[in-house]
């Protein structure tokens, strides 16, 4: 873990690093699934960088979250779209920041309602620690220390470029 650099790292360069890490696994012909919204943007980038022909899957885990009883339904749910058969496929789940692991857990549960994949791996740009579940990233390009009140948010700028910003809760 390293403290937060200033300025924040270039998210586009990190996407290229992440693609380099995944490239040796392409003989499995894996399918990409991005978790809304940051993970979906990164998955779209990875598809281009890795030259994958297939459309990416998009997943919104709102219907599978474990905090429904406390927080209710998220006010903006997006449709999950999986344009390929999950059964027997090698899946790469993509997210922007790995933190408690609860989003990953919800995404895994949702994926298994579509079928039984051959394997699921997890690719993230940033791992900020603080895990509450036994979940780890298969590929990660940035380990970073954040305090509890801080949130790392991936945004997409008007020109389509991905960029990090820091928000204080």
């Amino acid at each position: 873990m390293s403290p937060l650099p200033n300025p924040l790292p270039d998210a586009e360069a990190q996407c290229r690093q992440l693609a380099d890490l995944i490239r040796p696994q392409l003989h499995h012909s894996p399918a990409l699934i991005g978790i809304y919204s940051g993970g979906a943007w990164i998955a779209e980038r990875l598809k281009e960088l890795l030259g994958l022909p297939e459309d990416i899957g998009l997943i919104d885990v709102s219907f599978y979250r474990d905090d429904f009883a406390e927080k209710g339904l998220h006010p903006q749910v997006k449709p999950t779209v999986i344009p390929f058969d999950v059964e027997g496929r090698h899946l790469i789940l993509v997210d922007d920041v790995l933190y408690t692991g609860r989003t990953t857990r919800a995404a895994l549960n949702e994926l298994f309602d579509y079928g039984r994949p051959a394997s699921v791996t997890l690719a993230v740009l940033a791992d900020r620690g603080g895990r509450e579940l036994p979940i780890g990233a298969t590929w990660c390009v940035w380990n970073v220390d954040l305090s509890d009140g801080e949130n790392l948010v991936l945004g997409r700028q008007d020109d389509g470029q991905l960029a990090w910003r820091l928000e204080n809760a």
Partner: protein, 319 residues
């Protein structure tokens, strides 16, 4: 003013009527329903949102279709569903509505879906739950008297948005027995709230409520005039009992004036859609050639209805 449908944070906690709901809540329900459409297309048509929750269908008035779609919606949310055949049970033994509710709360009910012949019954239940401090129990109105049928209104809006993309340029005609129709009332409030610029009501004088103009609705008695250049035609069911009540001469006469035939539909825009809440009376309010034609979206309405009811139940149960 206290709105019994919203909690202190302005979130939807009961769905009693579309009247009084802000646009943002209607839009939230429609957006959420769009996500649930995808769930119904999967192999496993279930999400775990309401796992362990109990949904009681309280139908004091018969309705197979509405009850079934609520039941399917609740089951796809993983809730346990209990259908009470209320006509054959305690109510017929003299138990009051609120005593029935108290008993079901003692059985750990989480959500009531209520259909009642008396306008306001779901309000009475929601108010009672508030008075006894059960803000964890929610009410969804599945039709009360002539007052409201909000989930039908919402599924109609979902259907319109699905085919027309947005509301801001539309001309919508509602045709038939508007006076006795809770669907029409909910549709009018929803269309107005969502910003439809022109809502028309078409029907005989005896079946149109007075003061429709105060709701911003344009009234037509001649269908040929009213259908001109509309984008959406919402047909209403003509309830047979109206025929005996001297409000109408005969079914044949009604069909001649207000039945939707291919000739009359040709007056609307060429891409106009035809909706109907069901059940249809073919040859009374709608010609079979229209009901089965390419512009009818009556069966998609039923499919959308499940997703809309999943959205409503999951939103209220979470607030």
């Amino acid at each position: 003013m206290h709105n019994p449908q919203l909690n202190k944070d302005g979130e939807l906690t009961h769905l009693l009527s579309i009247e009084g709901l802000p646009q943002r809540i209607l839009t939230q329900i429609l957006d959420t329903a769009a996500s649930f459409m995808e769930v119904s297309a999967r192999d496993v048509k279930k999400v775990p949102l309401l796992r362990g929750k109990s949904v009681f269908n309280l139908f004091f008035e018969n309705s197979t279709r509405t009850r079934t779609t609520f039941e399917i919606a609740a089951k796809r949310l993983s809730a346990d569903v209990i259908n009470l055949d209320i006509n054959k049970s305690s109510a017929s033994k003299g138990e009051t509505l609120l005593d029935t509710i108290d008993n079901l709360c003692a059985m750990h009910a989480n959500l009531f879906v209520v259909r009642h012949a008396s306008s306001g019954a779901p309000y009475l239940i929601a108010e009672h739950l508030r008075n006894i401090g059960r803000d964890d129990v929610h009410v969804v109105n599945a039709g009360d008297g002539r007052h409201a049928h909000p989930t039908q209104g919402l599924l109609d809006m979902y259907t319109i948005r699905h085919y027309k993309k947005n509301f801001s340029q539309l001309r919508v005609a509602i045709v038939g027995d508007i006076l006795h129709s809770r669907v029409a009332r909910s549709d009018i409030h929803a269309l107005t709230t969502l910003g439809v610029p022109e809502v028309r009501a078409i029907g005989p004088e005896t079946l149109l409520p007075k003061h429709l103009d105060k709701l911003g609705v344009h009234v037509f008695h001649d269908m040929n005039e009213g259908l001109k250049d509309v984008d959406v035609v919402i047909m209403l069911r003509l309830q047979n009992e109206r025929m005996t009540g001297a409000l109408l001469p005969s079914a044949g006469e009604y069909f001649r004036h207000y039945g939707l035939t291919p000739q009359k539909l040709a007056l609307a825009k060429p891409d106009a859609i035809v909706m109907h809440p069901g059940p249809m009376n073919r040859g009374v309010e709608i010609h079979s050639a229209v009901a089965d034609g390419g512009q009818a979206v009556i069966l998609p309405q039923v499919t959308f209805g499940i997703a809309v009811r999943m959205a409503v139940m999951s939103i209220v149960a979470g607030n």
